[in-house]
């Protein structure tokens, strides 16, 4: 293998690092990895707004900071609003930077949905990334509206697991008619980086829904950080797709029909599920997938 070939193989994602090691995330944390990738994709001209979430800890307690860019730590429900203000403040002083709002699922699906919805309506020029670990992991694994049906959390105990489906944030954001909405996972780094690079060139509100493994909350081995999201995509639990100006395109259509059970059984949070319950999840997944295929066919929808 020639040297240039080696280089090519390695450079599937940008080489520059903007995140320091030594962050206090758990072993095999998908959220930390997602940030590492995101900053590589967006480059040094980036400012980050972080509401209360695991990342407000991962970024380092006072007086330390894990990123090579400015960070603004803000309240749980305000990521999109602070990002809007920051962008406006920069604009008025004719300074430029990519403003990245970086929030967890609690801060996006629940308590932050209002600020996000409004920013999207105003079409603020920000990139909003929701790293979704499917519960309030920072406070200790409580149910959020991103928690999937049937999952265990500390507020939905095994005897009474979550009985509501996961909120479909992708659809909700698509219905806001913003220029770019995309799903991604930490199991597909190249895909995530590609989408971010594309999003960087677009003006307006851009939304990312990133599935980020949480070994602590999912009760899964840390080394499966990339494997689990890949399984989620292969089993169609979490389809990889983007919606550009209202047009759907699915990035990965698994050829094989892998049952969701394959994805569920690796995670302790689904350990209690009966076959019947798994079938229910399977049906729901199939239905959503079919619907998505249909939407892709219809062309522009928003």
């Amino acid at each position: 293998m020639s040297k240039s070939e080696k280089k090519m193989m390695r450079a599937t994602i940008p080489e520059e690092e903007y995140m320091f090691p030594g962050t206090v995330d758990c072993q095999g944390c998908g959220a930390a990895y997602a940030m590492r990738l995101a900053l590589k994709a967006l480059g040094p001209q980036t400012m980050v707004v972080i509401p209360a979430c695991c990342w407000s800890i991962i970024a380092g307690p006072f007086p330390t900071s894990a990123l090579k860019m400015p960070i603004y730590h803000t309240a749980f429900e305000t990521a999109a609003a602070v990002a809007s203000g920051l962008k406006a403040g920069l604009n008025i002083r004719e300074r430029d930077a990519t403003v990245l709002a970086w929030a967890g699922d609690g801060g996006t699906f629940d308590i932050g949905v209002q600020a996000l919805s409004a920013a999207a309506e105003r079409d603020e020029d920000i990139i909003y990334v929701c790293y979704d670990n499917e519960a309030y992991m920072n406070t200790g694994i409580q149910r959020s509206s991103a928690t999937p049906w049937g999952a265990w959390t500390t507020t939905t105990p095994r005897k009474h697991p979550k009985d509501r489906p996961k909120k479909n944030m992708m659809e909700i954001m698509a219905a806001h008619k913003i220029p770019y909405v995309a799903s991604a996972t930490v199991g597909h780094p190249e895909d995530f980086v590609r989408k971010l690079k594309k999003a960087k060139e677009i003006r307006g509100t851009r939304f990312f829904h990133v599935l980020a493994t949480c070994p602590t909350g999912w009760r899964s081995p840390p080394e499966l950080m990339l494997e689990l999201p890949r399984l989620a995509v292969e089993t169609r639990v979490f389809p990889l797709y983007e919606i550009e100006n209202g047009v759907y395109s699915i990035n990965r259509k698994p050829k094989q029909n892998i049952p969701v059970a394959e994805y569920l059984k690796v995670q302790g949070r689904f350990r209690h599920l009966t076959d019947q319950q798994i079938q229910y999840i399977q049906d729901h997944v199939d239905e959503t997938w079919e619907l998505l295929l249909k939407k892709e066919k219809l062309g522009r929808l928003f």
Binding site: M47, G60, P61, P70, Y72, G85, L86, R93
Partner: protein, 384 residues
């Protein structure tokens, strides 16, 4: 050349923000504040104010956006009232504790339920622990002037400031307001340039998680900044007076030189009180008025000074702290504690939810204070 316009208190606030060259405005409508943002959005639409107006979806986000803008190094302004202020509560702490000199006009309105849109001071006074500077204005002119004073002081001490005007009585009442030359104002109020901002060349993390190891020191610095702010307010108001010819102070004294009794009050009711004082003076009463303009930082020294010269103090609160007393009353009493000469202090609660305060009410209060017990909450104007 300065110009004089006859405008409402709300518009005085808008003009104040315009002439202070606010750069980012994020606001949400609420009665009776709406005219402030309406006029500001007109200024932005017709280009007389070079600012970015973010039309947010709630007051909570309004303050959040102001914080973001301030962190970016821009001069941020907003306006709100009552429940809007209440919804911001969490972010008020954030703005002060994050040391962002946002300036906000708050139109004093009563808190619900039952729902009221008329004036009382509970909304702003209940925010007394948030670390915001609070200025209570008496006239539209003062609203206009105080906007730039507030920006100047706040930006020097890195704390946010709230200027407070009464709903309807000021907010919707037309008064002449003199507006100086922009050049003069620019000289008085230079552009905002914070020591730390969100900067790609000098990256920092703002407001990161702070363990007990450091948290208390940062809090201590805020209290210190308030002490500094008290000095700054005196300085800046003096400078303002010298430049523009209008003098205010943390505690405005009216006919207090030889007064034996003094009324303490904040807000526009002070004007009515001045008339009442004139009338009572004519009747031979040696009475004066001390208007509290600055509530945070609290002008301890000024309050103690006036207390040492009179035999009786009457505090009129347009607010009440449930389970205790009127808030001004409480703070003034605390301030006077153990002074050498402490006159009796009477605390009246009056005018809640916009119940009108007329000259008769003031003279009535003064009269009632002759006979009543100082230990109780004294009610004025409530129907029995």
């Amino acid at each position: 050349m300065s110009t004089v316009k006859v405008i409402t208190g709300n518009h005085a606030a808008s003009f104040g923000a315009r002439d202070s060259r606010a750069e980012v405005i994020a606001a949400y409508p609420i009665t009776p504040q709406t005219q402030i943002v309406e006029l500001l959005s007109e200024f932005c639409a017709d280009g007389t104010l070079k600012a970015k107006f973010i039309k947010v979806e709630s007051e909570h986000s309004a303050m959040a956006a102001c914080i973001g803008a301030s962190a970016a190094g821009a001069r941020a302004y907003t306006a709100t009232s009552a429940h809007g202020l209440a919804l911001m509560h969490e972010m008020l702490h954030w703005a002060a504790n994050g040391r962002h000199p946002v300036v906000m006009a708050n139109v004093n309105r009563a808190m619900g339920p039952p729902w009221s849109i008329w004036t009382d001071q509970n909304d702003s006074l209940a925010q007394r622990d948030t670390g915001w500077l609070q200025f209570y204005c008496e006239s539209n002119q003062e609203v206009y002037d105080t906007t730039m004073i507030a920006f100047k002081v706040c930006e020097q001490v890195l704390l946010p400031g709230m200027l407070v005007l009464d709903a309807f009585i000021l907010s919707h009442t037309y008064e002449p307001v003199e507006m100086p030359d922009q050049e003069l104002i620019d000289e008085f109020l230079p552009p905002f340039d914070p020591p730390y901002k969100m900067d790609l060349k000098d990256p920092h993390a703002f407001g990161a998680l702070t363990t007990p190891e450091w948290y208390m020191e940062l809090r201590y610095l805020i209290q210190e900044a308030h002490e500094k702010a008290l000095v700054k307010v005196r300085e800046v108001e003096k400078e303002f007076g010298e430049t523009f010819g209008r003098h205010y102070g943390p505690l405005e004294l009216y006919r207090c030189d030889d007064a034996e009794e003094v009324i303490l009050i904040a807000g526009s009711t002070a004007s009515t009180t001045k008339d009442a004082v004139d009338i009572m003076r004519k009747e031979g009463r040696k009475i004066g008025l001390a208007r509290i303009k600055l509530f945070r930082p609290f002008p301890n020294k000024e309050i103690r000074d006036i207390a040492s010269r009179v035999n009786k103090m009457i505090v009129i609160d347009r607010n009440i702290s449930f389970g205790n007393q009127g808030i001004f009353f409480n703070e003034i009493k605390a301030s006077l504690y153990q002074t050498k000469h402490t006159p009796p202090v009477y605390g009246f609660v009056a005018g809640l939810g916009g119940r009108d305060m007329k000259i008769d009410d003031i003279t009535g209060i003064v009269k009632q204070a002759e006979t009543c017990n100082i230990e109780e909450i004294l009610w004025w104007g409530v129907k029995l």
